[in-house]
Symmetry: C2
Subunit: 338 residues, 2 copies
DNA sequence: TTGTTTTGTGTAAGCGTTTACATTTCATAT
DNA sequence: ATATGAAATGTAAACGCTTACACAAAACAA
């Protein structure tokens, strides 16, 4: 059995309060005592029990992280950065992957409602907005702990959002492609999460403001059952066979963009001469294809740093901005000419 | 402030023991009482405090997961599967990313030694073997909780290993390439983790058993500072300019293989006609390049399922196999001819 | 009825900490 | 020496839960 603070106190011939003080770096301990206690601790290898500690402190020093699927390249990066940041500030993280089917939200109910966490981070915009019930859920959580949302906006007390201005980023990127002379741009997306909607809005806004005709015909939604790159590229092929010609594809994420590249390659379309392709997220996938993929970087690392900073501020009782917006930047590679 | 079991007991006009029993599904509660308590709980939205619960139960129902970098594609998948499996069995997971620099092992010391976890999972073979001191660390941990190691072998009491027979997988893949007529095969690797060593051994063994001449000259270690795909492919170009010709590249993981493909493309070498390329892990990257990458699948999902099953068995006091080995399978795509 | 199980519920101790408050020790000023 | 206050340490309650044990109620047998 593990040693307790009590065992240490006896061995060191002091009270448990003193041991606790040493452990917590209280200034009111004589140097000699501190050393004596520390020596015993080192010798016997005592480590505090954090459940007990949590009871005493009424805080777990733990943050819950909810994300749909931590094996998704983008989300995995986000989770990783968050984890690193939290750890650097003495917090642990409790990861919980909810999956995309929102009805199984009881899954993560467990975590949050067991309220051992001091705060909650929702990673990815797919937590927002599908149904009223879901939003209510976030509100309920925010009643117990501060809720941080990465990559989506949600206005409510005790809810803080850190995000990239996806709409604007997409607007600018689309405009840039348009201005370079490509006026028939296909927009490729799958699920319409919060940020998914914003991106689509950005595309639409850009096309509209350039008076592009009938761009709605070039908006291609990949069916839900097309998950693999191959299936997506097949779907694009099918879509292209029925739609009017296009010379640009803007995809809602890098994986879709890769599928677009595959589509072009299978159909003998040359990139970027006959077709420009643009991805989103600037993930490692951009380097894996040939030509390498132009993509929009949403500054994920900066966002996560800001998120943790905000969260710590909130936990410390400070007033913090409820919404922090970063702007994405276009990383030009070889699937585009501009 | 959150409600406690005490509040509920008063509202329901029963004792806290009864509430606790209801909560824990004890059979010795009258149906009427159970309903009364449940109604109150639902009405007021009580949720148990898991720190307190952990103190009572002397178990956190939490498993610590240690991995170097959860944003690595392979590790992220592993972590995800583990998380899912644990959750399905009522356990939570505490993720801790240690980074690759082992001297900062104090980082994860925190986690384990705070022993709130019921078990520990080490994800990835880079936890094993570099130094004696590191191994000692694992032994120390295993004295407190069962230690599960994914993807590496380590023989010790209370340590359980689940892994893929990387050596054999690599041996078979190399042999298959060799037998297809490609006898000058370059082996590309970066860090030599436990499984990294095994893979290299497998390559060597295959080359040796086929009496391939001077294959040691074709073993290419990427320097530690070559992290990006681009840097790696440049390094391969440089290596190739000095080495004798080769017509196959076997890489220790998919990312290295992608870099190999990039090398070929930059130098006008046609894949698979002039050069066959083989990756490892069968990650999503295999679908991103053109031609698509032949790779070895190490059955990660099966492994993780087995790991969790073993862990739960150990926690339940059952006798469990200390070592479970799966074998990888070659997934043939278009970077190879065989 | 009375005694004997069986079943359901309550009481209280314990889990390992933190910390307000009480107490002791010690240095300094008188 | 003695009083005084500061510094160091100890005592004990609290945190919210589980559970062994004690006890009461209900069900059954005689």
């Amino acid at each position: 059995m593990s040693l307790t603070i009590y065992d240490i106190s006896k061995k060191a011939d002091v009270s448990i309060a003193t041991v606790s003080r040493v452990l917590n770096g209280s200034p009111k301990v004589k140097e000699a005592t501190r050393k004596k206690v520390m020596d015993i601790i080192d010798e016997y290898g005592y480590t505090p029990n954090s459940s007990a500690r949590a009871m005493g402190l009424k805080s777990m020093k733990t943050i819950g992280i909810l994300c749909a699927d931590s094996s998704d390249i983008f989300l995995a990066k986000a989770v990783y950065y968050l984890e690193q940041n939290l750890q650097a500030h003495g917090y642990e993280s409790l990861l919980c992957c909810t999956g995309y089917n929102m009805d199984s939200k009881k899954n993560y109910a467990n975590l949050i409602l067991s309220k051992k966490v001091d705060g909650l981070i929702l990673v990815g915009s797919n937590f927002i907005g599908s149904t009223e019930e879901e939003n209510q859920y976030i509100i309920d959580c925010s009643a117990k702990v501060p809720v941080m949302i990465l990559n989506a906006s949600f206005r409510h007390d005790n809810v803080y959002c850190i995000l990239c201005d996806d709409m604007n980023s997409m607007y600018r990127a689309t405009s840039e492609m348009y201005d370079s002379g490509i006026t028939d741009i296909l927009y490729l997306y799958d699920v319409l999460s919060y940020s998914g909607k914003k991106k689509l809005d950005g595309y639409r806004m850009a096309m509209q403001s350039h008076h592009a005709p009938d761009y709605e015909d070039l908006i291609c939604k990949v069916p839900d059952d097309c998950k693999s790159i191959e299936a997506i590229s097949d779907y694009v092929t099918e879509f292209a066979s029925k739609s009017r010609p296009f010379h640009g594809i803007i995809a809602a994420d890098d994986q879709l963009a890769i599928a677009a590249i595959k589509y072009a390659q299978k159909n003998g379309i040359s990139i970027p001469d006959d077709l420009s392709v643009l991805g989103y997220n600037n993930s490692i996938l951009t380097h894996c294809c040939t030509p390498e993929l132009t993509s929009i970087d949403s500054q994920l690392e900066t966002q996560t740093r800001s998120l943790v900073k905000t969260l710590l501020g909130v936990l410390a009782g400070q007033e913090m901005p409820q919404k922090t917006v970063f702007s994405g930047s276009l990383i030009k590679r070889s699937t585009t000419n501009f």
